[in-house]
Amino acid sequence: MLLSILLGFAFSIFLVFTGKFFKGKISILASGIPLALFVYFTQFIGRISNGEVITQQHAWIPSFGVDLGFTLDGLSLLFCLMITGIGFLVFVYTSSYLKNHPYLDRFYGYLSMFMAAMLGLVLSDNLISLFIFWELTSISSFFLIGFNNTNRDSRKSAIIALAVTGIGGLSLLVGALFLGAVTGTYSIAEMLTMNPEIASNPYYILIVILFFGAAFTKSAQFPFHFWLPGAMKAPTPVSTYLHSATMVKAGIYLLLRMTPVLGNHEFWNSTLIIVGAITMVYSAIHTLFRTDLKGILAYSTIAALGILVFLIGQGTMEAITAAAVFIIVHALYKATLFLVTGIIDHQAGTRDTTVLRGLRKVLFPVAIAGFLAAISSAGIPPSIGFIGKELTYESTLHFGNLAILLMALIVITKILLLYAGFVAGIKPFTGALPERFLKTKMPSALLWIPPILLATAGIVFGIFPSLIEGSLVKPLVNSMGLNGEEIHLKIWHGFNVILILSIITIAVGTLLYFLIKPSHKLEAWIAKFEGASPQTLITRSWALFYKFSNSWTNLFQNGYLRNYVSTIMIFLIVLTGYSFFRTATYSVDFNTFSPVTVYEAITSLVMLIAIIYTVFTGSRLAAVAAMGIIGYAICILFVIYSAPDLAMTQFSIDTLTVILFVLVLYKLPKYLKLSDYKMRIRDGILSLAFGTIITLLILEVLAEPISSEVSDYYAQNAYLMAHGKNVVNVILVDFRGADTMIEISVLAIAAIGVFALLKLRLKKSDQR
């Protein structure tokens, strides 16, 4: 399983080097990767439906309990098949959709990176590795939304999406750490048995809120939903793949995955039901007021995610079954509608529903795909959408006291979703063909075959629901710790309340479709409420925060080195001084000090002279040279106290520092007396106070008994475990090698920073 995840990452790295040759027709070969993975995952269907759970463990950082542990059960399998199956069709579609695009290689690189991250997310058993893959999906989504990076709106949407999902990611990390602390493990499989203990823990509510924060931002739940319509700035294959079929379902996946661990609690259930209900109704209403096809689809996607959250909140076996079926239904019809929209946009050049009409005459196969998808989205038999809707109604109807209220909400949502599906899938193709679209050409088969395949699957699964019943739905319900053996998916449930509600839904929705035509007037009307929308409120508070941090930063980072240094010193003096004088013992036993040798005395004397010279000299160059002498004197002290490694390093560093200083000072104007008498006195007092504090601190430290446990451990094991006799170096490259790794990365970043600051010469027009 690890290999199947790494394959996508490997391919995107491979493209970095071979991108130049990755143009034109060859790009379709890339779709071999998701296809191979799809085939790979289908062979597990048999074993998984027999109740097997396939696990794999790779040690990563065992000392922190972080492993690369992978679990393939019913839930993961459904998501894996969706990721690779729809991924394959999107890869094929892209090769034609973005043909001759100059950055096609980048696009495929991001796309396969996303696919790999998403697979990692749904296969991870360890919460920490799940978090890392979660963040990787956010990052690849950022690159894909901002793919048209010359467009200001694209960049803005990409940043908003990254900020919202990024905050969710942090929330996931904190939640995972809390949960890890409570249960003592990061493995989800091990947490499954601890549900009652977790629920009775005082931190339970906090943990659940943190996990909700992650799931709601990723799955675009109210009030964090606003990043998703913005994300539609991405090319259509991305909207299809990330922002409707897979990535936005990561939040749903997380909720499903955590239900056996955190669920079965009133807080969990009621929050999910409330948030899901608000989201689905709010965004379903919004679909009425959009004229951009992608806008309609974006809001109907949010509504569908709301329905899923709503169902997970109910938490019964029926509700989870309905959710499982609806995930499949939604992935099939929504991906189709997005692909159809992409074709319309690509061939006819617009996505405005108010002008699109009669395209069936020029784009017949696309019209079929759109029609079938609209049927499935509307829940009209014999599509799989019908079964999904029946199951949703059934589980809501059986849900306790509030059943009537919840029922009303879900029916309203379904009616509006039917409307949205019809507008997106049927409206562009019906009516008379306007003149401006007469010359619309049939697209390449690579574009229209994927949506046809997806739409047909929606109908085939509807007629033969047994195809997905045993293979996907039952294993998913079983993997949630529920008993899914009684599930029987079928089209005909007999004549009952649910069927009547279904008929009402279809009738009212269709009526709505004929009564309300999308218009710019309606869109303009709803735009008036923009000021009170969550998006405006949240972006405004961001702007305020930005302003605050800007002025706060300017207060301290004012560009004068002397102010930086004095700020650091003042804070250090005040804070350390305060805590020092409160706790210090003031007992320095001078008898324990070794006698001062001649060498130490001479070195100190040299240092003292150099210090006095540095302070009073009138030449910068001389001051720098004197500073160098102080540095070398310190090196000699290191040698005297037998720390040769430190001395060598300090020696080289001091040499380079002097060179750097000289390079910079050489170009500065002549030494000027910028500071007056008063300022010098002030600076003098400040430095003396600083020096005194540090000296007192060191004396205090010496008075403490030294614990040599750590250094003894290193000294004893350096040769045994790391085959080295130089303990300092062994610590650097072996015992604490990860620290060194990060340090050299920081060094490299600093160098890049210096290079960028000095080499970047902005043109006058680019300067702000």
């Binding site: 950082i61 080289s652 085959h723 130089n726 300092v728 170096n729 090698g737 600093a750 290079f755």
Partner: protein
Amino acid sequence: MKTIILRTASTYLLPVLLLFSIFILLRGHYSPGGGFVGGLIASIAFVLHSFARGLDNTKELLRIHPGFLMPVGLALAFLAGVTPVILFDLPFMTGLWYPDHLPVIGSLGSALFFDLGVYLVVVGVTLTIIFTISESA
């Protein structure tokens, strides 16, 4: 600073100093030294050369921009860290050692490659900073 003595000496000092820096790098595991100091000494060697012969000459001698050494070094250090994960399923940064003693080098382990990575990064960073500043100032 371009005296004839320094200019002549720098031609011979550069290889000697570089050899010395590699010596320091290799002995690091048993005696004072290591990748960090070694890298600094190598940078000083190049800086000295640039003082004596001019920055352009040093750059020509280097052929590539010193900045390229940073990713190479980072990659090397990272590879030394992940090799145990990939090959032997051991945790990240586990030290691997070649069982037998080799002539001249002594025992060979992944730590040496890690240290070599540190060495390259340090040379790349120091030279990038110093060259950039001396060019633009």
